[in-house]
């Protein structure tokens, strides 16, 4: 674990629905070291996915400061190219994160073409190999792939430009147990090979305990507690909400 790759300070995110203003994230601050796997866990509506939207540059209405490497963004500032090239995201639903009418090759080569990468074909074949997909999947459509294979493609897409930080939004919750195991193994292998930093959001304590070095527990838009490796192993905590969460998760 090196110095902080990602620093989030005083993050507040709000949504307006009609005339009502709803605060999804309140005053959240945390740091993620280079090479670390940091987890975010909490019930639905706690704001964990919203944080990912802000970090990936998709969400606009926020206040606070986000520093990634040497790039800083403040108060809803749009992400510049130098920022975006360092962070990528893997989405939850393997059935929804690939365009149904594009072949895998198109899905993977388009980002490369847009950024003027030279040998597109070679890079596409490289990432397919890295995620364990045979090259005959290259020209298939998403509906011809299984859930696990689609998620591998999503991971391949995230790796295309060698990002330093990969955001994982419940990457295995839509998958069967054995397929989940394969994907988690893949993520671990890639981390060892490439040294990527992961920010993993999940509601599954088993996945979090298996993958993460540290976990922030969120409730109603705030971080109530951060658990260390020891805490996860011993299932100890201080905040009552965390205790509730641990109790409800049948893995304890």
């Amino acid at each position: 674990m090196g110095d902080a790759l990602l620093k989030v300070e005083g993050l507040e995110v709000f949504y307006t629905r009609g005339r009502q203003r709803f605060q999804a994230v309140r005053d959240v601050a945390f740091e993620v070291g280079a090479g670390e796997t940091f987890g975010l866990i909490g019930g639905s509506g706690c704001g964990k996915s919203t944080i990912l939207l802000v970090l990936s540059g998709l969400d606009a209405q926020w206040r606070g400061a986000v520093t990634l490497g040497d790039q800083m963004r403040r108060d809803g500032e749009k992400a510049k190219a130098a920022y975006s090239s360092q962070v990528q995201m893997v989405f939850q639903d393997p059935y929804g994160s690939l365009h149904p009418r594009h072949t895998i090759d198109r899905t993977l080569s388009e980002p490369l073409k847009v950024h003027g990468v030279q040998d597109v074909e070679q890079r596409v074949l490289e990432v397919l190999e890295q995620v364990g997909l045979d090259r005959r999947f290259r020209f298939r459509y998403p509906h011809q792939l299984s859930g696990g294979q689609r998620q591998r493609v999503a991971i391949a897409r995230a790796l295309l430009r060698n990002p330093k930080l990969v955001l994982l939004d419940e990457p295995t919750s839509a998958l069967d147990a054995s397929v989940q195991a394969e994907i988690l193994n893949l993520l671990l292998d890639l981390k060892r090979e490439l040294g990527t930093t992961y920010l993993l959001v999940s509601h599954d304590l088993g996945v979090i305990s298996h993958m993460c070095d540290r976990v922030a527990v969120m409730q109603q838009g705030q971080i109530v507690e951060t658990l260390s490796e020891e805490n996860l192993k011993q299932a100890t905590c201080t905040h009552p909400y965390t205790a509730d969460l641990l109790r409800n998760s049948l893995y304890v």
Binding site: G43, G45, V179, H210, E229
Partner: protein
């Protein structure tokens, strides 16, 4: 609870490559007990439940040596007789309440409809009963919830509403097909506990279908493990973690937890399982 007997159930669908059998020689018997069916997606567990309730339409084909509930043969029933069984003697709740509830009707009207289909009771009485039952399943503000439309309810509330709708006619058997997969982890435990409590209180049987071994181990008495349409193992829920079949052992071994931190998880060796299963 009257006995449900299933013997040699087969469900197949015709495809351009020939018939595909998705449920293969499944058989079990149950009375007042909580039976869990566990398997991955594609193992045929949901289709087994739907076959029992006669919900598989053409071109799917259902055959069984025997499929009886309380002596009534389920295989040859016509729609009229099915109506006296579905919702009345056997209830079913499915994964996502957003899709099982009619979006343009208020909750109380939907539940009342189910009640009145089977028991021509006065509407006011039925509404009172609905409010009573909503309170029983742990809804804090039954009047407000009863007047809501389904999209105004959270996942947990939606499933409670579904459970009320299915329990209002006091059926003998409840089939729950992944009832908590779409729910938040905090709510999951609450809904399962509530369901368990109601079932035990009413002396009903339960068939709980899930891909989650832990859920099934905790809320069932007996577990059937299905793989590619067949039952590969049957065991008592409290002995689930001592299961013998390579598939079950494989499923148990591939679960991530704090104990497996930093290690590669074992993955199912499907070749070995196929060899053993066939």
């Amino acid at each position: 609870m009257p006995e449900l007997i299933v013997e040699n159930l087969q469900v197949s669908f015709p495809t351009w490559r020939g018939d595909v059998t998705v449920v293969n020689r499944v058989g079990f018997e149950m009375r007042t007990e909580r039976l869990g069916i566990v398997g991955e997606s594609g193992s045929g567990k949901s289709l087994t439940a739907r076959a029992i309730l006669g919900l598989i339409r053409k071109p799917g084909r259902v055959t069984a040596d025997r499929m009886t509930f309380d002596g009534t043969d389920l295989a040859g029933l016509d729609e009229k007789r099915w109506r006296s069984i579905r919702g009345c003697r056997i209830g079913m709740i499915m994964q996502d309440p957003k899709y099982s509830l009619n979006p343009v009707k208020r909750v109380k009207d939907q539940i009342a409809e189910v009640a009145m289909l089977h028991d021509c009771v006065d509407r006011k009485q039925v509404h009172l009963r609905v409010l009573e039952m909503l309170a029983e399943v742990g809804v804090e503000d039954p009047i407000r919830v009863a007047n809501c439309y389904p999209h105004q309810l959270s996942g947990g509330l939606g499933q409670r509403v579904m459970i009320v709708a299915m329990l209002i006619n006091s059926p003998d058997l409840l089939i729950a097909d992944e009832p908590t997969s779409a729910l938040d982890v905090m709510v999951r435990g609450q809904v399962l506990q509530m369901m368990d409590r109601e079932i035990q209180r009413r002396g009903m049987g339960l068939i709980l279908i899930s891909h989650d071994l832990n859920t099934v181990a905790r809320y069932c008495d007996r577990v059937l493990i299905m793989y590619k349409g067949r039952i590969v193992e049957t065991c008592r829920a409290d002995r689930l973690f001592e299961a013998q079949h390579p598939y079950t052992r494989g499923l148990l071994a591939c679960l991530p937890s704090a104990a497996t931190r930093g290690q590669r998880l074992s993955v199912l060796d499907r070749a070995a399982i196929e060899a053993e299963a066939c």
